[in-house]
Amino acid sequence: MHLLNVARLEILIARRNMWVATSVILMSLFTIVLTLTGGAPTGTLGVDPLVVAVTSITTLSVYLVPLIGLLLSFDAIAGEVERGTLALSLTYPLSRAEILFGKFLAHFAVLGFAVAVGLGLTLAVTIWQYGAADLSFAPLVRLFVTSLALGAAFLGVGYAVSGFVRAPGVASGVVILIWLICVVLYDIGLLGALVADDGGAFTKTLFPWLLVANPADAFRLINMPADTVVALSSGLSAAGSVSGLAGQIASLIIWPVLAIALAWVALARLEP
């Protein structure tokens, strides 16, 4: 069970490097602030306060979860190549799969812990403010599960980048670029295309699929309750109904698997 030994060491390193503390503090801080301030308009809107909180936290998590995932993973392979410890590890009775999945297990646990703490605080603050009576917990659970899927996808992307470029400095630059593209530029590009297309064929056929093709957007759509608080959600969510829930779920399942598979290819072809 060397996979667990690898995971154990990675968790130790993540704790030492303050990655655990940083991601937990980041998630907690933002979720508490958003829960407290997001609750203000619920009186007039008359919707479930937890749904409002989840909606605000979704817009935040779209930025934060991929960022944490990439920061945890970009050094995982490149750093070991540079230090020479990957070559050394491979001379031990240890397989590449054990190395990759051991690291994934550790980083996924760190990410999951941070998200769980953040959402747990959201729940606690909401119950403290409004009581537990009329809350629907489904959106919160959905947000948690989809955050894990989103995080796993970007962990995989981080490993793949790390394995292909083999230099931590370059890998950090590439993952920041990927992050920027996925959570900001991609949407801006789509929006620009929409405007240029002006309701033509692109808007009706290709656009909904391009939207869910980005896991960050699929995550956003799945957690934006279009029927209850459409006013709070971004205009993009209306388009989400075309590809439907199936498309969003598929995106959030395919991306983690695809990204980890890509990372596996990168590690398998690497001669340390």
Binding site: H2, N5, R8, L9, L12, I13, R16, N17, G79, R83, G84, T85, A87, L88, S89, L90, T91, Y92, P93, L94, E271, P272
Partner: protein
Amino acid sequence: MTALEIRNVCKSYGKLETVCDVSLNIEAGERVALLGHNGAGKTTLMRMILGLTPVQSGLIRVLGTAPGSRLARASIGFLPESVAFHGALTGREQLRHFARLKSLPVRAADAFLERVGMADAADRKIRTYSKGMRQRIGLAQALLGAPKLALLDEPTSGLDPISRHEFYDIVAELANSGTAVLLSSHALTELEARTDRIAIMSKGRLLANDDLASLRQSARLPIRLKVTTTLADADRVAQELGGARINGASVTLTCHQDEKVAMLGQITAFGALIKDVDVTPGSLEELYRHYSAANPEDR
């Protein structure tokens, strides 16, 4: 069983032949030094033995199994050249991790930390370690689990003379307990008394593979004698012995191994005129230069 068997192994990257037709066997308890300048193919050879780089042609067997197999990996201890462990971990944490990977109790790690003289610094972060301390942690992990074959790539680089001495003591102990040791180096002087056999590589080829005395004999390197006499007699001594006068009262001569005793007899015949005699056999440096300068095609 032969701990390490290498037969006619070749490896080239494009047109560049990094290892070419190398054959070398190491038995249990033998210490073999692999000498060669940078780029001679030492590290590539080690990586092939470890299974990190595929063998292009020829055959490598580690304890009778293919390199990189589970059994081979379980019985090899490897110290990479200039290894750097994760700075956020302590030496003890890092070594315990390696002990777990070798399915050993974590206490084994503590024992080896003591053995390499790192017990006091074991709970400090690795990023605070000097190069020598990191090298000791590297050596400790290579020793873990009593390997049948130890591969040490430039093990003494970055170590001070006393650490080097301690390092070779540990290597001797390891060999005495039956481990076959292959270590690469280009710090030649320290190897003289510390290895059983010397293999010299240059441009991917193995040019020599024998114990030091036999290498000296076959290379026929001249032995240098320095005779100290008095200012007045130096010229006469130099003339009669056929040497050259240096530094006023000293004379230097060279001769071959088989002429040495006769030459010493000639010198002692001068009686009281001779104050001192120094005999220097061909050094490892000269040997190394002799073998690496020899054109492989002529041999």
